[in-house]
């Protein structure tokens, strides 16, 4: 259970190109399907309980008729110095060797301190047991657990897909290749605005994009060292 990080351990990261994002929210839908995210329903959503591990934030700039809409998909940034990690009293959230911020569902007792400390507001709590209107439970992904009440959850970078790729690579005695791991959101983006891969590999697509002139990170002045890189055009419009 000790840290086993080596030079060849992949450090997963994501790049999102805001100039390509159309705000279609296909990533949101794909994430729901892949990760068995609960359906909140009208009443609970109105009370602020809807769960979207990735959400597209929409900000309007300017007055009519010069209105511009900015779309920003926000998901768990898997910060290298995550503020959510030191404050969980039972170690339900911790940092893995591969750079992921992991949430251990079974360990969470629901103090919700981690969610209060996340500046990106990407943590979601299960206030009640999830209700799945028939026959939607048939759409469950068998590789992902369904969370009961009292547990905190958030984006895992589709860790089930990461593990699957790593197991397959292990069986074939090779390292994980570029493009082996595709999280659901990245897979479903129609404009291919999102990329995912190993940041520790300087030749991977995410590493190259992260070195681009347009790269920046969300609220990195807070010192959280987020691992999601946003590409934003230097020119307005």
């Amino acid at each position: 259970m000790t840290d086993t990080k080596t030079a060849s351990t992949p450090q997963w990261g994501m790049v999102i190109d805001l100039d390509l994002c159309t705000g279609c929210e296909a990533c949101v839908v794909a994430c729901h399907a892949e990760n068995n995210i609960r359906i909140a329903g009208d009443e609970q959503a109105a009370r602020g309980r809807s769960v979207n591990w990735i959400r597209v934030e929409r900000y309007f700039e300017g007055e009519f008729p010069d209105v511009r809409v900015r779309f920003m998909p926000v998901l768990c940034q898997h910060c290298n110095e995550a503020p959510c990690e030191p404050v969980c009293p039972v170690f339900a959230t911790y940092h893995t060797d591969e750079g992921l911020n992991a949430q251990v569902y079974n360990r969470c007792i629901g103090t919700r301190y981690c969610a209060n400390n996340c500046p990106y507001s990407v943590r979601f709590f299960n206030f009640n047991d999830p209700v799945w209107p028939q026959p939607l439970q048939n759409a469950w992904n068998p590789e992902v657990s369904v969370r009961s009440k009292g547990i905190m959850e958030k984006c895992t970078f589709c860790i089930q897909r990461i593990r699957k790729a790593e197991i397959a690579a292990d069986e074939e005695n090779r390292p994980v290749r570029e493009g082996d791991v595709v999280p659901a959101c990245v897979q479903s983006c129609p404009t291919r605005a999102m990329s995912f891969g190993d940041m520790a590999d300087p030749s991977s697509q995410v590493s190259r994009l992260a070195r681009s002139e347009r790269a920046n990170r969300l609220m990195d002045d807070l010192g959280t060292k987020p691992k999601v890189v946003y590409l934003k055009g230097l020119r307005e419009g």
């Binding site: 009370r47 602020g48 009293p89 007792i109 969610a115 209060n116 500046p119 206030f127 609220m219």
Partner: protein
């Protein structure tokens, strides 16, 4: 010591009279005691049932949501831990500084501390998403590689509150032993047996008195830093987070001052009620309310100083995220509560407490009730507005409490009243031996204040 111990020249009260007055609550039960216990007991049970229902169906029946993940329960938690500083200030600080006027009120204050802590310690369990697993906060040996995270302020809370609760209980129990011996002597039957066991075989020899007084002195010295650390650590639940208007270095001292402030106010309320209900007018005298009122005035000014510093520096800092929270409190959706808090904690109490003519028992009581309400609002306003306005504006939200939270809040107040009523039935609420020790004439312990207070009082 040149007086026969049968009477007291200052108050004119005989020993027998003092015993009768102070032990009356233990030996005689009025109808209103039963009513109080019945009403508070049933409200308490209703709240317990509400909690069990919440644990069963999920915390979703409460009003908390995303982004306001902490609401009434954490407000109550901080509030009750704050109230618990009453006993420490009165009992410990006044003992250490040798203030003689503290004598009739030490036990009342220490009881408030223990019960407020017991209730405050419940809330971290009540607010959990999975409360049946609360014991995972304890470091116990296991085969699964589980261990609490000592870096988390909530883990520090666990140690701090347990230490304070243990210390306060012992600090309440030690000076209670001689009174338990007195109750043993005056009871019969099963009661006598129970008091015999509780009094641990106390005889009242000089050796025992010396050891006891020494122990109480040592405990008083230890418990003061513990109390300071407990509320500092509770404040660090917020200050250690990076949220706007939480991550403030002032929170440690701010909360301690606020705790002592609300603690004294709660003590005054409790004393005023006890004085009326148990006819202790000759023991809990205007001088006590006057002195506590002066302390309360000092704490009100200190509290305002800290609040003003906190808000002014935030305002000058002009950090956008902080200013959003700031304005939401000052002239936004939370402004009615904010200005009510300033009214209740500063604008109303200071004139009442500053003028001697107004600093009567009624005056201090009115000020104290306002302060208790105002300090509850202060806790609420520290927690909720920050959570309601997170950095990314897309996620702003609001909070309104639901029935279960209100019921549990009221239920814990009822629980407090219940515990207090049972306490006054089992033990004398004024420490008899300590009171008598203070009124012996010729003792160097008799201060000018005390003689002022006792002069002119006739035995009625």
């Amino acid at each position: 010591m040149s007086e026969p111990s049968g009477s007291n020249a200052m108050t004119g009260f005989s020993d027998a009279r003092i015993n009768a007055d102070l032990l009356r609550s233990v030996f005689r039960t009025g109808k209103w005691w039963y009513v109080t216990v019945a009403v508070s007991g049933s409200v308490m049970l209703a709240a317990g049932a509400a909690f069990l229902y919440q644990a069963y169906t999920g915390i979703g029946i409460a009003g908390i949501n995303r982004p306001v993940y902490w609401g009434f329960y954490i407000t109550n938690f901080v509030f009750w831990i704050g109230i618990s500083h009453a006993g420490t200030l009165i009992s410990a600080i006044l003992r250490v500084t040798g203030a003689q006027w503290r004598r009739p009120i030490t036990r009342c204050a220490e009881a408030i501390t223990v019960f407020a802590l017991m209730i405050g310690a419940l809330f971290p369990i009540i607010h959990l998403g999975r409360p049946w697993l609360f014991y995972w906060l304890m470091p116990y040996p296991n085969e699964r590689g589980l261990w609490p995270n000592f870096r988390s302020p909530l883990a520090w809370d666990f140690f701090a509150i347990n230490t304070y609760l243990t210390g306060s209980s012992i600090y309440l129990f030690l000076p209670l032993i001689p009174d338990l011996a007195m109750l043993r002597a005056k009871s019969t039957g099963v009661k006598r047996k129970i008091y015999s066991i509780l009094s641990l075989g106390w005889r009242g020899t000089p050796r025992q008195w010396h050891r006891l007084e020494r122990a109480v002195q040592i405990m008083a010295i230890i418990i003061i830093p513990v109390a300071v650390s407990v509320h500092t650590i509770v404040s660090w639940d917020f200050a250690m987070a990076i949220q706007p208007m939480w991550h403030s270095t002032i929170f440690g001292p701010y909360f301690v001052v606020g705790a002592i402030f609300s603690g004294i106010a709660a003590l005054i309320v409790a004393m005023a009620i006890l004085r009326k209900v148990f006819h202790l007018e000759a023991y809990l005298k205007p001088v006590h309310f006057n002195n506590l009122g002066l302390l309360l005035l000092t704490m009100s000014l200190l509290w305002f100083y800290f609040t003003f510093s906190e808000y002014l520096t935030g305002y000058y800092g002009n950090d956008p995220a902080e200013m959003r929270v700031f304005w939401s409190k000052v002239n936004g959706p939370y402004s009615p509560l904010f200005w009510a808090m300033i009214f209740c904690c500063f604008i109303i109490p200071v004139p009442i407490l500053a003028f001697k003519k107004l600093r009567t028992i009624t005056g201090t009581l009115v000020a104290s009730i306002g302060i208790v309400i105002g300090m509850w609002l202060e806790r609420f306003l520290i927690i909720v507005p920050t959570l309601a306005a997170p950095r990314l504006p897309y996620n702003w939200g609001h909070y309104s409490p639901r029935l279960v939270e209100i019921l549990i809040t009221v239920g814990t107040v009822a629980y407090f009243i219940f515990l207090y009523a049972v306490f006054t039935k089992l033990f004398p609420i004024v420490a008899v031996w300590e009171y008598k020790e203070g009124i012996r004439p010729g003792e160097e312990s008799l201060t000018v204040r005390e003689s002022e207070a006792t002069a002119g009082v006739t035995a009625d």
